[in-house]
Amino acid sequence: MCCLTNSGKITTDVDTLRSEIRDKSVRVIDVRREGDYKQDHIPTSVNLPLANLLSDDSPERVLKLVNSMGIDDETPVVVYDDTFGALASRVAWTLEYLGHSDVTLLETTYSHWKSLGLENDSAIPEVQTKEHSMKLHPEILATSDYLENAKTRDDVILIDNRERLNFLEQHIPGAMSLPYRTLASNDKILRSKEDMKRLLDNRGITGDSEIITYCGSVGTLSGLAYYALKSAGLSNTKLYVRSFKEWKTLEKPTEKQDDANYWDLSAE
């Protein structure tokens, strides 16, 4: 059985997906907005707009959604978006948390798929509901309480995936800045394994550490980082899914870069 954590497969390349679609051996999820999906999408894909998932992402609701998309424990799932993989990552992570083991990200965005001249249509597939089990994976989730305790440990690395200026302005104490743009390469949502490893190695982020990623609000940018880290072999990674928005609402301590007017260097 192909499973994300076992095989280490994070992304599915374009050619593989095309042949899986032909074999009807895959469930493709398009996480863009409904209007965009209706216009055109990768053939056979079903639509799960991220906003729909986020309106209630309790495991019970997610289970219903997964069943309604015709996914059981054995169904290989490929997720794609048009937002550099961040939204797709958040959906993939949610499935993984629910206990689905075979979910990967399309290696590129829908725009790029189209610019390559690849198949797309507007047909909405008929889906037969299936029964998925629920075996939650709390080891990939970080809550604010968990994070607060973990931060005191030396072997935990906290990574902020927002843009650099936002990080300088305010961040969770002790976090290191790794802007989400750093994770991608030209046409791919993730840079190559070797490139990612080298970048992380330069930063002193090694396989032994427990890593927690966060971003601005709902765990999309940090979801992408979660998969980027896994792709580099750092499997002990957790997503602080409620991210900095919750941290601030809870009035937990934050830190900033003092004594510099860095915002005024920005041309925007």
């Binding site: 843009e163 650099r164 200026l165 930063r203 510099a260 007017n261 920005s266």
Partner: protein, 603 residues
């Protein structure tokens, strides 16, 4: 369906002629940072190494660096711009900054990521090597070299050859202090007397044949103390260019002050020794160099002309072209006619040199589509020029620039002030000069001062400390930052100088008075008002001020003291209760206090 059906055809990118990079320097830098973090490399050696590779320190932190990417002779190609756009989003703040010395700077880069930037730069042939530290800094050339109606020949190939000769050259790795070359096109567009070595191309008839050569100026420079450079001799032939450069550097290397960090630029050596003695020494040293260098030690001057080819593209596909509002104003204040008929050079108005990643990205296609030489040139004034734009293409270029927010007017006027990075990133800064420059620009464009021909040849330059990075000493109106105080309350305060210039009549600005940051805009407007009331009909602000500072003005205003008297009431500080905003620097909502870290200029 294929890719080409979906994308409008964009002309191929012109490729750079010279690869300045060395990929192995990326790995070496990454390893050195690791050793440093492990404590196996001491602070001082690491700092020297870091600077030699073009990574400068950042305000109040050792976690971040600024990477200064050199653009030798100011040349930058579309693929390079696209790469810098990407690097700025990945490793910096999503913006890049054009400096006054034809560098592009990426700020707030995590020190551990600097090597990744080197790696990216090497993909497009760029380097930051020797952009900082005690080396030969970026070799500049006028953005108009090759197209300037007043030039005798194009000095660009000589600037590139000089950059190539000294980059990574052992003789330039450990000078007493940094060393700068500026090539130019003509007296007017130069900056040749404000640099260690300044060069103006000239042609002489010698024994019946025309010979290329240069007017060379030595020992100038702006800084805590500024000096105007001296002309070495009437004419230095092109064959003697390299020998002269080496001779000057050898003298500096041998005799420059390696102890007193505040006085170790070559201009202090020239000043201490006296020009006559220094000049003599250069002649003697040059004779030695000429006699002892291997015959193969030569500048590799590539004189093949660049291909000029008007890009063909699908344009006007929707029929009639409407010229957007503001075109005439932009054409007047941002473009200059070239020697080459039917072509103009177009300068982009940036705000204190800043440009976003998406603007850079858009710009790369605009260069491919509009510049017949297929590249751009950065200028001396935190800006960028697209040259060889065909007259017929200007309206469309203007509308394309509007789309990416780069069509502001005033690039070649006083309304585009220079502002160094100031407290946005620099350890030495006392004030936010960067933001002040932007505030002045916004206000003056709103007042349409760029359209006023009387003001167009004047300049405003603002440094955040006395160290002249914004070149305030050669500005018509120059400012450098410091702190002022009423009781225990501090405010940002600038020393104002007036009448500086960097052309054939180069002189340093005369100190006028101190102006609180929040009073600078009204003070400049007041100066303009005084000028308007007293000018002769063909005066510009620059020519009028020139007469005043030289004691040759006979209107009501006879001296700087008269101007000072009028301005003094404007600079009296209110109490903090009367005007709390006065005590906040631009861009800050916390009470002002001076705070500086260690400078790295002298490392």
């Amino acid at each position: 369906m294929t890719i080409s059906d979906l994308k409008q055809t964009i002309p191929d990118s012109v490729k750079p002629k010279i690869d300045w990079s060395r990929i192995e320097e990326a790995d070496d830098f990454a390893n050195t940072v690791k050793l440093f973090r492990q404590g196996k490399y001491d602070e001082d050696s690491f700092r020297r190494y870091r600077l030699q590779h073009g990574a400068y320190g950042t305000r109040m932190t050792s976690d971040y660096a600024m990477v200064r990417i050199k653009l030798p002779a100011g040349e930058i190609y579309p693929d390079q711009i696209e790469k810098i756009s990407q690097l700025s989003e990945q490793y910096s703040i999503g913006s890049a900054h054009f400096s006054t010395r034809e560098n592009i700077q990426l700020h707030w880069v995590v020190l551990e990521d600097v090597s990744e930037i080197f790696r990216g730069l090497s993909e497009v042939g760029l380097t930051s090597r020797e952009a900082c530290g005690n080396s030969v800094r970026n070799v500049m050339c006028s953005p108009l070299s090759g197209v300037c109606p007043a030039e005798e020949f194009d000095s660009t190939p000589y600037a590139l050859a000089t950059a190539r000769f000294f980059l990574r050259n052992p003789m330039a790795q450990n000078l007493p202090r940094k060393f700068k070359f500026n090539f130019t096109c003509c007296e007017k567009h130069g900056m040749v007397r404000m640099v260690d070595v300044g060069l103006i191309p000239q042609i002489r008839e010698i024994d019946g044949t025309l010979q290329r050569g240069f007017k060379i100026f030595l020992g100038g420079g702006l800084g805590n103390r500024s000096f105007v450079g001296h002309q070495l001799e009437d004419f230095t032939s092109e064959d003697d260019l390299l020998y002269t450069s080496i001779a000057v550097m050898r003298i500096f290397d041998r005799m420059g002050d390696r102890k007193n960090l505040a006085r170790n630029r070559m201009r202090y050596l020239v000043n201490d020794m006296g020009w006559d003695k220094f000049q003599n020494l250069v002649f003697k040293e040059r004779a030695v160099v000429r006699a002892t260098q291997s015959v193969i030690t030569q500048l590799d001057v590539d004189k093949t002309p660049n291909v000029i080819k008007r890009p063909i593209r699908i344009s006007n596909e929707n029929g009639g072209e409407t010229i957007p509002d503001g075109y005439a104003r932009w054409l007047k204040t941002n473009t200059v006619k070239q020697t080459q008929e039917d072509y103009r050079s177009v300068f982009l108005t940036l705000e204190a040199g800043d440009i976003t990643a998406s603007q850079l990205y858009g710009l790369s296609d605009i260069i491919r589509n509009f510049s017949s030489e297929g590249m751009a040139r950065s200028g001396f004034e935190q800006n960028l020029a697209l040259r060889y734009v065909h007259e017929d293409d200007l309206p469309l270029l203007y509308s394309k620039l509007i789309e990416i927010g780069l069509a502001k007017s005033g690039a070649l006027t006083m309304t585009a002030p220079i502002g160094c990075s100031g407290t946005t990133s620099c350890n030495l800064a006392l004030t936010n000069s960067h933001r002040l420059a932007k505030e002045i620009q916004r206000k003056f464009l709103e007042l349409k001062l760029d359209e006023d021909g009387d003001l167009s040849d004047s300049s405003i330059k603002i440094s955040g400390c006395p160290n002249s990075c914004a070149q305030h000493g050669i500005a018509t109106l120059g400012f450098f930052g410091g702190g002022g105080r009423v009781g225990k309350d501090m405010y940002a305060n600038y020393q104002m100088s007036i009448g500086g210039r960097s052309d054939g009549d180069t002189m340093l600005g005369q100190t006028l008075l101190r102006i609180p940051a929040k009073r600078i805009i009204p003070v400049i407007l007041k100066v303009i008002e005084i000028f308007k009331a007293n000018k002769k009909s063909d005066d510009t602000l620059k020519s009028w001020i020139h007469r005043v500072v030289n004691g040759n003005e006979n209107s009501e205003i006879k001296s700087l003291a008269d101007i000072k008297k009028i301005l003094e009431p404007l600079v009296i500080p209110p109490t903090i209760e009367e005007d709390p905003d006065f005590y906040l620097d631009y861009g800050s909502d916390a009470s002002y206090h001076t705070k500086t870290g260690k400078g790295e200029c002298a490392a």
